[in-house]
Symmetry: C2
Amino acid sequence: MKVTILGNNSALPAFGRHPTAQAVSVYGEVLLIDCGEGTQSQMQRFGLRWRSMHHIFISHLHGDHYFGLPGLINSMSLLGRTAPLHLYAPAELKPIIDSILAVADTVLSYPFYFHALPEQGTVLLVDDSSFSVTCFPVEHRIQCHGFLVERKTRGRKLLPEKCREYEIPAAYYEDLKQGNDYERKDGLLVKNEWVTEDGPAVKRYAYCADTLFTDNFLPVVMNADTIYHECTYLEADKEKAIARYHSTATQAAQLAKMANAKQLLLGHFSSKYKELEPFREEAAAIFPNVFLSIEGIAYEV
Amino acid sequence: MKVTILGNNSALPAFGRHPTAQAVSVYGEVLLIDCGEGTQSQMQRFGLRWRSMHHIFISHLHGDHYFGLPGLINSMSLLGRTAPLHLYAPAELKPIIDSILAVADTVLSYPFYFHALPEQGTVLLVDDSSFSVTCFPVEHRIQCHGFLVERKTRGRKLLPEKCREYEIPAAYYEDLKQGNDYERKDGLLVKNEWVTEDGPAVKRYAYCADTLFTDNFLPVVMNADTIYHECTYLEADKEKAIARYHSTATQAAQLAKMANAKQLLLGHFSSKYKELEPFREEAAAIFPNVFLSIEGIAYEV
């Protein structure tokens, strides 16, 4: 399970950095979280295929989080997409997209489903066999949501050579994946651990969107493997952060520590900062396992 | 008078090419024509300052001609623009922009004026002391406009040394610029051509937007210094061009020839073509003074 950063800047493009977008890869599925201007080009650039993408999540309706969406929706249609696409976003985005399509006389080549995010509460949005996505409210100047992506386990992983060695018929493989033993006709009980190993673990990635420092959503992100938390500002500019409903690197680290996360990913850097290393240093003093989100890098969750 | 190409591709970003946008520079003023996704970044990249820009013209509401507009409008506000901005576009764009601003609770930092383009007819949009812009209808799948940008002359250019030599008071300089002679108190008639030279000539740039090949707008673009004409396709794909209300390189050249233009600029290349030189070659057989529009290049009109 990986997170590829497509845009790590806040508000404006600057210093070659783009507005916010991330792609979470889970078992070959690509989940797009936020879609700032230029996201379709960034996906091309970093080899992320929209053919593997069926769900897009928009945290809130500040332009730096969704101005790349109309272009992406349009381009997939021009390129003949047929697979359904599900968009989860604040309700007010729907009439905007409808108008953009209508004025261009565009009929999309694929089924497009708009799902309005709930105005409040923590709500399960997608519950697939291999992953789930839950939204939770964060504290921003307008309605804004974080997203918790959970990779489910797929059961135990078969060791094909061992299975053959014990002459287990393929029809029983699914049973083995569920952790069961197998009894042969000759009476030998083949222990599950002889022919399987641990499958991929459950992993949890919490994208905390744009937010004031708050512990309101702490229960949802508790014990996450990786927390992405914005830090638009350094602690020296804390007053600005508060005034604009944003956070500092110190606050991001505090949140990760309180949540007992394994790893912290920092992003949404203000255009006033050319150098990003000070964000990492500031956060590392509180929460050592911290990384700057850098465009094009895929972080293991 | 120059045209800087910010995006030369049709529909999709491809091969590093961006969707349509151009900046026409007239006496230090920057006029933006169309604004595909990524235009604000392209302006940064090529050193075009929005502080010199007060007018934006959108030919039609296919996304590849305006999806960069919300980001540009927003960014200028975040950066504290105070000068008024005038947007000329099909009327249906206004509610879309209004909604985009409303859902973000955005109040722009500068006066923003929306001017709906006329549903038909050739109409003067801006008549400044140093330039004018006229829109004219072209033939596309939806309402679509070309723009004729005319640089006005600024009268004759003074030769300061000569003026001093003939002891002409500065108060008469404006009179000299208008082409008048000056009679000195000692009776000497100073001929205008002794102390001035030709000022910048009237220049006409015709942006023909997305269009089927048609001579409907020929009277408007007649004798233009430079015609920009789309050629989404090569002549071999003429059927596709017709079906999609686009033109071929051959047709662009025919139009330029019929219009008795001095120069032709080709653009809006389909993503199906990686190489662009065949467009130039095809057009040059009919109209020799032809250039490919290449991003980042500023073409003298």
